[in-house]
Amino acid sequence: MRRASETAAVSSKYSPGSLLSVGHLSVAEVSAILAETARIAALSPAERSAILRGRTIALLFYESSTRTRTSFELAAKSLGATTTLVSDKSSSIEKGESLKDTGLTLRALGAECIILRHSASGAPFVLARETGLPVLNAGDGMHEHPSQALLDLRTILNRLHGADKATSITEHSLSGVTVTITGDILHSRVARSNAMLLPRLGARVLLCGPTKLLPEDALGLGPGIEIERDFDRALAKSQVVMMLRIQKERIAGIELDLNEYIHRYQLNSERLLASAPQALVLHPGPMIRGLEISDEVADGAQSAIEEQVAHGLAIRSALLARALSAGIFKGQTI
């Protein structure tokens, strides 16, 4: 288990603007990122586009993505940066080029920061080590999706405490808040990043799902995490519920009865009304409507799913500004 005291030592091996794991961020850094997010969001488009004018950012995507890729790309462009997208389907990656060589090539072409989505857990660590560039982890295998956890945090803070309280946080900002994360926890990088981030701000995280998708090992993610396999019981305790899809691309070898799964774990109107009529509903997408979540809930009044996407753009703008101003960004401890 990585202790908080090791945070600085671990992250010092990587370019300081990198964001590889939420575990590398101190609470003060999270707070600074949220403040920067609010600051950038308040700027006029013209002011915003001066922040990274003339800078070059590469998006390196080894896995398909809609939300994350588009929001990183739009965020970079809104800050005035030049972006280039490299995906595994249309590049020398298909010819067998290594991650290291792809990274060095992008660096030689002037990329000052690489945003990486990769199917292998830990790939951003390799890229950050080999290139020395700031690397933003845009989702690595089953490991982490740090920018998603940060945008979820901003969404939760905005809805629960109001936008003005979403700019500065402490270890107690989410005290008294219970967040249930339900679904395919085993394969979810979103679940890992959230379960490691939210308890550090005082939240209680309940993980919910069948044993096959939620092994007891998940408790090792850190303190403040519990397993509650009864979804209704978890909902009744929660102010926030985050739904996850079943990742069919990673689920090989696990047999699931989908009807049974829907019966036990689908978030639908009846369940929400019965157990958590006030809870905030989140979903990182992509949603599989009719499976883990019903239409009415996804589009209902308690859903903040579209807000999550909007906050994603804002958070990623701040992460890019942070990546390219490493060392001078406030809150940076290195």
């Binding site: 288990m1 671990v10 794991s21 290594s98 292998a120 857990s121 890992r192 090992d217 090792g220 070898g253």
Partner: protein
């Protein structure tokens, strides 16, 4: 005349039950005399080594190394791998068959053992148990035995099918050599790259459960039982790189039962636990993987209480470009020949009180018996002059950049070591001087 006189050293030769100051005379590749200090002073010899303050022991023997030749000489060659062995105090190594092509015929075995390969120490080999190590058809054990095989293994993979393993144990019993099993139920480890548990979960890596190792060990032990009963043979199962408490317990019980089971433990499995994976350090990726701390401590217990028969490195060189990639893609294995003694002395001897004589047993006399290397593993007069002379108290730090191996894939770069090899002598020739 190539005689060597070794004076004033502390001879530790467990098979002769000697742990005392002795002088040795080496002549014609053999130990010619072992005498009380001072007795051999008058002997004429080309060379005299003053071993005052040094341990003089039978050369170390590693029953599990990967030398990558033929086929992957960018990782290692027989010459470079055995040079690393000599630097580590080894005088005999046993090469695994997972070369390209797989060592599964007498002619391939002959080629590997040929002096032209330039082995610096005595080279032995375990050919494949099945053709191409595909786990289906047994190789010709009898012919391979005649060509010098010291055991059979499909290392890198298990012999998975019950009936194939049963047939291999029977054929090996007739050839009077062990079947050396890589105990991994690969039906449970597909896509896995480290030990199963909370650490793997946190890193988002698929984990190898301990059952994958334990089940094969338990299955193989059951086969020994059945074969002893039904065939009247006494097959010898050697379990490679045991890494889990459950597997070592199975070995312990089987030994108590009187079955012919031996096992090895790799230095990394008593030196490191899964935490060493850290942030995806591929130098902490091997198979079997680094396990939980409780397993590591059980490996040490097994070495202390005699359940473990020997230390074997599973020396597995890989090129930098192979290790410097995504954790799940990087190949398994680390180099180990130059760090085994230094780790064993520090962790087992100094920290846990393992007597030096027991350490020499684990690293020389016992492995020599496991693979029946006649005339090795002891320094009684008449035996081969295979020796290691080391300063058991010398502290040093391993620097991978000056390794004799062609590869640098070790988690022990910069790690403290105890005990410095001063001389390695193989069949009377000084093959390393440190």
């Amino acid at each position: 005349m190539n005689d060597i006189l070794i004076l004033n050293g502390r001879l530790i030769d467990p098979l002769s039950r000697v742990d005392a100051l002795r002088d040795l005379l080496l002549r014609d590749g053999r130990v010619a005399a072992v005498e009380m200090p001072g007795t051999l002073k008058g002997q004429e010899s080309a060379q005299t080594i003053d071993a005052k303050g040094l341990i003089v022991a039978p050369g170390l023997i590693d029953v599990h190394v990967h030398l990558r030749e033929p086929g992957q000489t960018y990782k290692e060659t027989i010459a470079t791998g055995t040079a690393a062995a000599a630097a580590g105090g080894y005088t005999s190594v046993v090469a695994m068959p997972n070369t390209l092509p797989v060592n599964d015929t007498p002619s391939k075995l002959d080629w590997m053992l040929d002096a032209q390969r330039g082995s610096v120490v005595k080279l032995f080999a375990m050919p494949a148990a099945t053709v191409g190590s595909m786990g289906e058809t047994l190789t010709d054990f009898e012919a391979l035995r005649k060509a010098g095989a010291v055991g059979f293994t499909d290392d890198g993979k298990p012999v998975l099918e019950d009936h194939v393993m049963r047939a291999a144990l029977i054929a090996a019993a007739r050839a009077e050599v062990p079947v050396s099993q890589h105990a991994e139920d690969t039906r449970l480890t597909g896509g896995c790259s480290m030990n199963a548990g909370p650490m793997a979960f946190r890193l988002g890596l698929r984990g190898m459960p301990i059952e994958a190792e334990a089940r094969i060990v338990e299955r193989d032990i059951q086969l020994l039982r059945e074969i002893e009963r039904a065939e009247g043979l006494r097959p010898h199962l050697h379990v490679q790189h045991v890494s889990t408490a459950r597997a070592i317990e199975a070995v312990r019980k089987a030994k108590r039962e009187g079955l012919h089971v031996t096992c090895e433990i790799a230095p990394h499995h008593f030196a490191l636990n899964e935490e060493a994976v850290g942030d995806y350090d591929t130098h902490a990726k091997m198979n079997p993987p680094l396990r939980a701390e409780s397993d590591r401590l059980q490996m040490i217990e097994a070495l202390l209480d005699g359940t473990a028969d020997c230390i074997a490195t599973d020396h597995a060189p890989h090129a930098p470009f192979e290790k410097r990639q995504e954790f799940e893609r990087a190949p398994n294995g680390i180099t180990g020949l130059e760090t085994a003694l230094g780790l064993a002395l520090r962790i087992l001897h100094r920290d846990r009180g393992l007597p030096l004589s027991r350490l020499v047993e684990l690293m020389s006399s016992s492995p020599s018996q496991i693979v029946s290397l006649a005339g090795r593993g002891s320094l009684a007069a008449g035996h081969y002059a295979d020796l290691v002379l080391f300063d058991a108290g010398a502290e040093w730090v391993f620097d991978a950049t000056i390794s004799r191996s062609k590869s640098r894939n070790t988690p022990f770069d910069g790690s403290p070591m105890l005990g410095k090899v001063r001389y390695t002598i193989c069949e009377g020739h000084i093959v390393y001087r440190g």
